[in-house]
Amino acid sequence: MQERQERKMTNEQIISNLPYQKPFLFVDELTEVSEKGITGTYTFQKNEFFYAGHFKENPITPGVILTETMAQIGLVCLGILLLKDEISIVSKPQIALTSNVIDFYLPVLPNEKVTVISEREYFRFNKLKCKVKMINSDNELVCRGTISGMVIVK
């Protein structure tokens, strides 16, 4: 009888499998993790590289970086969890973002901690689509939308 191996993956292992590193890693911690959805946080340090230019003498986190943060926590971390049985030292997860529709409500300033909450809409034929929102430390909505990507292990 063939035994199917169900592997467990800790939140730290999910983060260590991310294909990003500083200065483009926007995940500090995952706080709630299941196959249906994921919640994680990131604190924007005041020396992040993009504050030097966005904007001149008025540092505000760019919308594309907020989108990237939502994608890294909400889509890529969840994708890694869903594909955990296929990931190994030689087989790494690869991600291609394929679409996103995001509305923005509030700015995020240096030193702010944000929480990303993602709910899986579907994961089929390697396409993962999620409803994702970001809230600040006052529980106010920063941005929300849907993000999709193709997630494969190669």
């Binding site: 679409s99 034929f125 396409k127 193709m150």
Partner: protein, 83 residues
């Protein structure tokens, strides 16, 4: 459902994802979704999900991998509808 009816419904489903309008104008049985219509892999998944809703069928991974052309897709839909 006849083959023509399936192709007609499929044409409507495919339209929003087409990059190559010329290929879409000439869409026929031999049309390949990726080469002729330049549909990307994520949108190909959307088409498969739309096919499931439209034709009330369930597409598995093996069938999905075959559904790269109009002809192959019609065959899969017919097979699933008659199952």
């Amino acid at each position: 459902m006849t083959k023509e009816e399936i192709i007609s419904k499929l044409t409507t489903l495919v339209k929003p994802y087409v990059q190559n309008e010329e290929g879409f104008k000439n869409m026929n049985e031999d049309t390949d979704f990726i080469n002729d219509l330049e549909i990307n892999s994520a949108n190909l998944v959307d088409i498969i999900l739309d096919v499931e809703d439209e034709f009330k069928v369930e597409i598995d991974n093996d069938s999905m991998e075959k559904m790269l052309s109009v002809k192959a897709t019609v065959l899969v839909i017919q097979e699933k509808m008659n199952a």
